[in-house]
Amino acid sequence: MIFREVEDRDLIAKARRGQVEAYNVLVSRWEKRVFNYLLRLVGQREDALDLSQDVFLKAYQNLKKLDDPAKFPGWLFRIAHNEAYSLLRKNRPEGEMTVEPRMAESSGGMFPIESTLAVRSALARLSDDHREAVLLKVYQGFKFEEMAEILSCPVSTVKSRLYTALDLLKQTLAPVNTGGAK
């Protein structure tokens, strides 16, 4: 992990000096993570792909504004967050929530495909803010402080959003009455 960070830092320094191949390596290294974060946030594959392209283009154009290359992951996801929310605000009227049909309450003994569908459905029912907190913490592994920087909000807000999301997901994915606890 330490080597990876050093390599990213080195690639960023080279890209800043105009070595485009270094930036290409950075793109190939981060594109899958950024794409999956955007896909789970906006829900549409084509939108996520277009947004990913925009994210890496903006990152390239603003690479010299990145103060600390060690903060590249958070900085990149902050760009991705901003791009995703401008699309969500454009596509969805103010205050409207994502509503998906409720899935079956039971999660015991599910096959992998059922489990995948259940998780997707449970994530889709969360509000954008709650879902994003889960995506950044569970899937991207950011710390609370990093999430606060990405989302431009206090750490207390980040914790509140994540804890609420976990409670909602727990009710669906590990309900009490079905013996979800093992």
Partner: protein, 191 residues
């Protein structure tokens, strides 16, 4: 709220921070110590871990199309950006531009301006306009002068007639007086 959750309300530990790896080492020790004696928190921890593991089962999708690389053209700087960033190229371009400007300036034929002809034309046009203005003014003055002259002549004629009438009246008066004097002198001589 479930019975387990009600029982956990008195437990002062942050299980969610523990599950997502945000607890410090002392906090983790305190949680693990608490869990040994609290059935409700153990059940809650199991549910949170199950939720976490189910979320983790959702695998990342492969990106359907690679992000365009810098060499693909999307990220390529515009020609003017490339030139702007390159000092030697910019210097050479400036020098070439300056040289081209000098050459063009050297070959450029400045149009010959015949100032004498322009002056003549201007003079002719100004003269014509002045003459026209003078003619208009003269015509106006002549008309006014004729009008005043007619009025004066008319007034003079009437004055002359009036004077003649007065002179005639005076002459008649003197003639009558002379006649009276003559009659009176004749009568005086007869007595």
């Amino acid at each position: 709220m479930s019975e387990s959750e009600v029982r956990r309300m008195n437990c002062d530990i942050d299980l969610k921070a523990y599950v997502v790896g945000e607890s410090t080492r002392p906090e983790r020790g305190a949680v693990e110590n608490h869990l040994r004696g609290c059935q409700s928190c153990r059940e809650e921890l199991d549910r949170l871990n199950l939720t976490r593991s189910m979320l983790a089962s959702l695998e990342d999708e492969e990106i359907p199309r690679r992000i365009a690389f810098v060499s693909d053209g999307v990220f390529e700087p515009r020609w003017w950006q490339t030139m702007w960033r390159s000092g030697p190229v910019m210097g050479f371009a400036s020098a070439a531009l300056l040289a081209a400007a000098i050459v063009v300036h050297g070959f450029e034929r400045t149009p010959v301006v015949d100032t004498a002809q322009i002056e003549k034309q201007v003079e002719s046009r100004v003269g014509a306009r002045v003459q026209a203005a003078v003619n208009v003014a003269q015509a106006k003055q002549s008309a006014e002068f004729a009008k005043v002259l007619n009025a004066t002549e008319s007034r003079f004629e009437s004055q002359r007639k009036s004077d003649l009438a007065t002179v005639q009246q005076a002459a008649e008066y003197y003639e009558k007086q002379m006649a009276r004097f003559e009659v009176a002198s004749n009568q005086g001589a007869g007595q």
